[in-house]
């Protein structure tokens, strides 16, 4: 069961990476990155149980805090020009570039 959970979480992380690459806006990428971080917390916890080493939970706790701080740290710069999104048009792909 634990191995199946590991594989499922790895698949979810893969989906998050795909969304992170596809975009289209910068915010989608940040969201995908946040989800990747949360899933890596779960992955580390499950791996700790799978390998019989519950000390991994400390690392998972640190990852939880780092994940939050990195998202807030990126959003700290949300006043800068790269974060501005063009007014919404149904099929504009211009905001895809970072």
């Amino acid at each position: 069961m634990l191995a199946a959970a590991t594989i499922a979480i790895l698949v979810v992380m893969l989906l998050a990476i795909i969304r992170c690459i596809v975009g289209p806006t910068l915010y989608d990428r940040i969201l995908a990155f946040n989800m990747f971080g949360t899933k890596s917390i779960l992955l580390i916890s499950v791996l700790g149980f799978l390998m019989g080493r519950p000390e991994f939970l400390d690392i998972a706790l640190v990852y939880a805090l780092i994940n939050f701080i990195s998202v807030i740290g990126v959003l700290r710069y949300s006043d800068s020009a790269e974060f501005k999104v063009a007014p919404y048009k149904p099929h504009s792909t211009k905001e895809g570039e970072e």
Binding site: A8, V12, I30, I41, L42, V46, L61, F68, S78
Partner: protein, 113 residues
């Protein structure tokens, strides 16, 4: 008794993984940023809860249990704040939702677009 705990743990791990997978699929299928955010919050709340709950039932001693509860609490407190900050930054920088109608936006919403 041991078998019952084992079965409940496996079941909650299974449902949690299914919810996480659904969230990942929703992340790819949904049309715009704000709707994707709802898909992510599925994996963050009940998905993480069930996976960690399944691990809690297998925990060998009390300290591991407390640490798992700490991780769960961190996830539950941190993720709403992070997604709120993200949504607020996106709205303030002009990323409009997909079907936000203009009459819904203009009149009563006191935001700084």
């Amino acid at each position: 008794m041991n078998l019952v705990i084992e079965i409940i743990s496996g079941l909650s791990l299974l449902i949690g993984c299914f919810l996480c997978l659904s969230g990942g699929v929703g992340m790819l299928r949904f049309p715009d940023f704000y709707t994707r955010m709802h898909a992510v919050s599925v994996t963050d709340t009940l998905g993480a809860c069930l996976v960690l709950f399944g691990l809690m039932l297998q925990s060998p001693n009390g300290l591991v249990l407390i640490k798992l509860i700490l991780i769960l609490l961190c996830t539950l407190f941190i993720n709403p704040s992070a997604s709120h900050a993200l949504a607020k930054a996106a709205l303030r920088n002009g990323l409009l939702p997909l079907e936000g109608k203009p009459d819904n936006q203009g009149g009563n919403k006191p935001s700084k677009l």
